[in-house]
């Protein structure tokens, strides 16, 4: 199956392992340009591992990741780094470089990869921090700001180089519902404003329903994807017990629930 022109990322038969332990296999999906794609699944199913393989931190043991027609892991390191230039990544903890101020964090990629003059860089840094509502924190160090602010600052750094693909690893993890809802709004606004394609790894249902328009559901037991589609569609129409349990927030998948009901009798 050849990906069509709208497809920005095509993953084919990907297999991810740590040593002999297989994390996920047979992972295949297409990511449309401009879409927000959710990687869903319970804790420990390999969502973040899939993300790490897409951003070049973990080599898959089989399969291909095609980015705009290039086989990502078939390239040499220099070429991969060049592809990474199109990426913006928001890590789970924000991953701000702790020896630098928030402003310097956003400025570093600009200093490294552009020939901009210092005052032009400063303008851009203020703009990116302004977009995420963090302009006041420009001179603060990461340890001086809260977890939610760190995430927003991490987002400002992720969009520093005008990426066309954004990756979010658990953006709402550890945030209160209001902060997390604001972050969702911000992600949507940025997608529309920057025209970026977004891959989001999450198990936060409210935020998935709000923002994602396509997705894949990874199963931790069979170690492979068991459903494709937007979180909304999976919620409304998917009949697989694992997916419905996840989508409807029940504590156990139905087969086990029946067992327990019997024991109560």
């Amino acid at each position: 199956m050849m990906p069509d022109r709208d497809t920005l990322i095509a993953v084919r038969d990907l297999q991810l392992s740590f040593g002999p332990k297989i994390i996920q296999k047979n992972v295949s999906f297409d990511l449309k340009r401009g879409s927000i794609f959710a990687v869903m699944g319970g804790s420990g199913c390999g969502k973040s591992t899939l993300l790490r393989s897409m951003i070049g931190l973990l080599r898959p043991t089989a399969g291909r990741i095609m980015i705009g027609g290039d086989d990502y892991w078939g390239q040499d390191e220099a070429r991969r780094t060049a592809i990474n230039r199109r990426y913006g990544v928001l890590f789970q903890s924000g991953a701000l470089w702790s020896s630098m101020t928030v402003g310097e964090n956003v400025a570093l990629p600009l200093e490294m990869f552009t020939d901009l003059k210092p005052d032009a860089i400063e303008q851009l840094v203020r703009l990116k921090l302004g977009l995420v509502g963090m302009e006041h924190a420009i001179d603060l160090f990461p340890f001086e700001i809260s977890g939610g602010m760190r995430k927003r600052a991490g987002l400002a750094r992720a969009i520093a180089l005008e990426p066309d693909i954004l990756f979010f690893d658990e953006p709402s993890a550890g945030l209160d519902p209001i902060t997390s809802a604001r972050l969702d709004d911000l992600i949507l606004t940025l997608r529309d404003g920057l025209g970026a394609t977004i891959v989001i790894v999450s198990h936060e249902l409210p935020s998935l329903f709000t923002i994602a328009d396509d997705g894949i559901f990874l199963d931790a037991v069979t170690h492979q994807p068991i459903a494709h589609g937007s979180p909304r569609d999976l919620h409304d129409s998917c009949t697989l017990p694992e997916v419905t349990a996840f989508m409807h927030r029940s504590a156990s998948i139905p087969s086990q629930t029946e067992q327990k009901a019997e024991q109560h009798v």
Partner: protein, 385 residues
């Protein structure tokens, strides 16, 4: 219900019995089941040996005389549930208090065996092979690291480095001026001790004047270089490893890699350069302090003018000794910094891993420096310094 029975028999010990009735087996539980009062009970393996069991039979539970209960009761009931599962008995827990039923429903029919560690099944040969591959891999990684840092230095000399000057200055400050006090104290005391012990021995031969040579040569050639290196391995090497492994746990290293910023140029170079620049200077300073320590002790214990002491010192200690020590300090610094950075990069992502990385960097640093010093001693002997 529970309260009512607690009122009936408030202090009796836990009791249980199994009887065979026409309707099925009947397990009668009574008394107070409190884990913390030391009255925990287990269901013996042969509990069902005296009654007729078999598929299709039901095990009723009766709790008419049950008093207060807590985890010890649930533990016992869980034992019963597992035994019932093994013997294919249908368990009827309707008589149990509702909260106990809910807790019991959480527990599985059979105890799950603990998951084995991943590598525990490997044979000795596989482990040997794995260790050998690890060694080769490590050699490869370290060589790449050295090459990348070398490349970084060349870039730096050409003025095209990705290193931030601010980072270098901060590291230089930490590796140099802020270590002066501890370097001074240690070297002063070492010089003083050398002079003291030396004077006592040399006095027997009326050769006290040679204490200047003893202190001067010993500190310039060996002791100041080694002591300074050990201090820096503990102080700066440990700090580098802890810092880098914390960055690892915080995904900062991942962020650098994804952004395409060279780790070697950006994190390792300032750390390594600062130590390599500062340690030889600290060594020179340390040697002077050690000689001064010897001088202070000698002035109180022997009859020699202060100027005479310094003149004899520089007369007796060849410039080569200083150059030798200086070169050694340079290599020690490179080794300590590289080892610390490598250990930090290799560390895991948990808080405990940071501690392990710091410890490992210090141990490798100190042992490595002493081993390097032995190699230098052999080389110096061959060259004739």
């Amino acid at each position: 219900m529970t309260q009512e029975h607690a009122a009936l028999q408030p202090t009796s010990s836990p009791s249980w019995s199994i009887t065979d009735t026409p309707e099925g087996l009947c397990l009668t539980l009574g008394g107070r089941w409190k884990a913390l009062s030391g009255e925990a009970m287990r269901l013996p393996d042969n509990a069902f040996s005296s009654v007729r069991t078999g598929t299709g039979r039901t095990l009723f539970i009766k709790t008419d005389d049950l008093g207060d209960w807590d985890s010890s009761f649930i533990t016992f009931i869980w034992n019963v549930k597992q035994a019932a599962g093994r013997l294919s008995l249908r368990l009827d827990c309707q008589a149990l208090p509702a909260s106990a039923q809910r807790l019991l429903a959480l527990l599985p029919d059979r105890a799950t065996p603990p998951a084995p560690h991943q590598d525990s099944r490997e044979g000795p040969l596989a482990r040997l092979g794995g260790a050998t591959l690890d060694v080769f891999h490590e050699i490869g990684t370290c060589t790449t690291l050295v090459a990348e840092v070398g490349h970084g230095v060349i870039q730096c000399l050409r003025g095209r480095s990705s290193m931030r000057l601010k980072d270098l200055l901060v590291d230089i400050w930490n590796a140099g001026p802020s270590a002066l006090l501890i370097v001074s104290i240690v070297n002063f005391l070492i010089g003083a001790i050398l002079a003291f012990v030396g004077l006592l021995e040399l006095r027997k031969f009326a050769a006290e004047i040679y204490v200047t040579n003893l202190v001067g040569i010993a500190s310039a050639r060996e002791i100041s270089a080694i002591m300074t290196a050990i201090i820096m391995a503990g102080r700066t090497g440990g700090a580098y490893a802890a810092r880098i492994s914390t960055m690892q746990g915080n995904e900062e290293i991942d962020a650098l890699q994804v952004t395409g910023i060279s780790l070697a140029g950006y994190i390792l170079l300032p750390s390594i350069l600062s130590l390599v620049i500062m340690m030889p200077l600290l060594y020179l300073y340390g040697t002077m302090v050690a000689i001064f320590g010897g001088f202070v002790v000698s002035m109180t214990m022997m009859d020699l003018s202060p100027i005479g002491y310094w003149l004899t010192t520089f007369d007796g200690v060849d410039l080569n000794q200083f150059i030798f020590g200086f070169v050694k300090a340079f290599f020690f610094a490179g080794f300590i910094a590289l080892a610390a950075c490598r250990v930090g990069l290799k560390a895991g992502r948990s808080a405990a891993d940071v501690g392990i990385a710091a410890t490992r960097a210090v141990v490798i640093g100190i042992v490595g420096v002493i081993a390097l010093d032995a190699i230098f001693a052999v080389l110096a002997n061959a060259v004739g310094i």
